[in-house]
Symmetry: C2
Subunit: 219 residues, 2 copies
Amino acid sequence: MNKYIGVLKRTQMFAGVIDDEISSMLSCLGARIKSYKKGEYVLRQGEHLRDIVVLVDGNLHIQKDDYWGNRSILGQIAVGELFGEAYMAPESSALLNDVVAVEDSTVILFDVRRIITTCPSACRFHAMVVQNMFFVISEKNKRLVQKLGHMSKRSTREKLISYLSEEAKKQNNASFTIPFNRQQLADFLSVDRSAMSNELCKMRDDGHLEFDKNQFKLL
Amino acid sequence: MNKYIGVLKRTQMFAGVIDDEISSMLSCLGARIKSYKKGEYVLRQGEHLRDIVVLVDGNLHIQKDDYWGNRSILGQIAVGELFGEAYMAPESSALLNDVVAVEDSTVILFDVRRIITTCPSACRFHAMVVQNMFFVISEKNKRLVQKLGHMSKRSTREKLISYLSEEAKKQNNASFTIPFNRQQLADFLSVDRSAMSNELCKMRDDGHLEFDKNQFKLL
DNA sequence: ACAAATCGGTTGTTTTTACAACAAAAAGGA
DNA sequence: TCCTTTTTGTTGTAAAAACAACCGATTTGT
């Protein structure tokens, strides 16, 4: 687990906490490590979650498949980001989505209750982690609101524009890479892949953007 | 402000805090009170928010209007609920939506920084409010995820089913009232009102539900 | 290197939704 | 109460999206 201290140090959750402190906090917070192969389920819809899941290597998707096999992707977790913040309240622990490793992945799990309850042994930085968590959850909420902003657009084209412009803004560059292939992007925006592909090409022909694979450039 | 202590006491934010303590916390948390007439803007998109807004009377909608006048409703704030939790992180304070009073409303504002920073004078229940806020944000997060669940459905009918069943579940009754009229519900689900109205009537004719105004019953 | 699987784009058809216009019913105000 | 405004349902048409099927290119595994 110690080999990932460098990764943890750079997460928002542990912002301002030094290596030595992280190391001692691992036990204080009941940390455990787990690895998953590409395609494996990290968590399943309906499961009860009592941990905060921090991704230290790989790539996760939060998604849901309906009865007819339609998939919708709620979001993506990149290295350093975490999952499970929505299930910290004691009563609301039944997961609404699956969490799937889209690449070989490694996560570190922290016991939720140990995070929100400041420990008696009072490791110095516990209070800072609590405050960091506030900001992390707050950020997460904002991202969900942004996603709702994309989804509330009526046409496929508008959804694409909404999503791509925000991605450009987030990466602070008109050229940027998205973490999805076409099918995944369609599942993320809840539209049909072929229709979306069509629309992307039209937008390209209209001179609004250029793309190659998952690399885009807004014009 | 003191006339609303009874309301505050029943909010999740102040769960477990007694009247006297709330009263003293009001100044500790830099509380201010504001009232709005029906139709007035409480907050506007792009504004910078440094407060948590608790609704103590009335009804608020969180919404956004685009250039062409299309409105989309992100959510509704009922008495006792709060707004602003997505903007607690110092860098993310630019509002993504308007907040509008859909009835005459009264809110109490709390300085965010005073909430997350435990005060030196250490009012006894401050720590409890901090923990409560964790749960509130977490709940909000869950609600956003649920809304994304509805929005990710491909057809108007499925969106309606998704929303209405959840509402029934939330109110723990097959008969329930929704906080929207038809146009508002359409704006909430991002569909056309007339098409939605049509679909609702078809669903009624198919024997799936009954409704009268904003009172629904699932069969 | 080869076969198999995945991925992205294209096209035609069907289904669904948006849009516009209107009428009946209900609510609100003078 | 009566008039005005708002709300809801209805219908027809136009536009858009979903669906299905296919192909070529790329990637992956052996």
